[in-house]
């Protein structure tokens, strides 16, 4: 069997491979399909695990009105849908982000360490 296969390769390698592929096409199709489904399953598991993990939402903030679903919005008090309330909510969110991102170190503005006395008195 191996000798026959070897001889075929020697005579015409392309034809030999083509013949072998045709003989095993169902097996190849099965392997390709299995690989595809495994990959898809891994991706799907990854997606659901990430969505469920609290680590994926580390900065979970209180949702603003616009972020609440229409069904939940029905539960809101009348005041919460007033423009003043919405503005207050928006401004507070902006303020919070300003507070969090403020740079209170400004390291490049520190005075450079230059206090070295120039003297030729002693080594």
């Amino acid at each position: 069997m191996i000798d026959e296969w070897g001889n075929e390769i020697k005579e015409n390698p392309f034809a030999a491979f083509k013949k072998k592929l045709l003989e095993r096409r169902y097996l190849l199709a099965f392997l390709l399909g299995a690989a595809f489904f495994t990959l898809a399953a891994v991706q799907a598991i990854g997606f659901f695990v990430n969505r469920a993990s609290p680590a994926s939402t580390p900065n979970k903030a209180i949702p603003t009105i616009s972020q609440i679903s229409p069904r939940d919005q029905k539960k809101l008090s009348p005041l919460s849908t007033e423009s003043g309330f919405l503005l207050l909510e928006e401004n507070t969110a902006t303020l919070s982000s300003q507070i969090d991102t403020i740079d209170l170190y400004e390291s490049p503005l520190m005075f450079p360490p230059v206090n070295v006395k120039v003297s030729f008195g002693e080594k």
């Binding site: 005041l79 507070t92 503005l109 005075f111 230059v114 080594k123």
Partner: protein, 255 residues
Amino acid sequence: MFKKTFIFFLLFYYIFFKHPLISRADYSSLKIEYSQKLAEYNEAYSDYQIARGSYLTYKTLAALTQALEKSKTYLTKRDELIIKHFELLKEKSNSKIADGEITFYRSHLSLITAIATLKDIETVAKKAEDQIPISNVRSKQILGQILISKVQEINNSYSNIINETSGLEAKIMELKKSGKNTDKLERWLVEVKNKKMLCETLLAQVNDRLNALKGNSASVEKDFNEMRIDISQANLYLKEGANYIKEILEEIKYD
């Protein structure tokens, strides 16, 4: 024709983009220039130390010439670095104190060119070395003011939000009248105002301490670091206040 056009564009480019009187360096480009000056200073300092060591060991004429040259370069680079530092501060704060410091070191630079002996070097260097601790204090005062004004700016936004919360007070009263327990909401609302007061008090204290800042290098560094912590604390008060407002809004939203 081509030559004339080329010269015209070259002149135009120089006048509008490169001339120091017209082009105004922004903060990020000044920061890059400052980093370059710092690297040049470090190199000059290292060269000065080698030249000084060599002169004190061999006392030859060649070593003396080298020591003179490297010391002058070191003093020049030191002045240039301090000038750039104050230019950087000025870009952020537009401080008049920075102007005074820049003028001092610029005039000191002109003294360096006249140095001829090692004795001259020590005399000229001492003038800057007497000024450096004062400059350090002034630099920290300007930086402190920059940090305070940043928090004050946020405090202004916070105050505006407090003014907008009058509607919330009315809503809380309304809820109270309807028989709901609003103790928690009322307490949070008081906290919102308290946090503003705490922030302003702390900033005023830091401001006073900044104006009174003096002393030797180590104590100035220690005091300034404490002030930095207090400025961060003032910012933290505002953060806590903003969180209270969020909580109140959340409670009322689903009432």
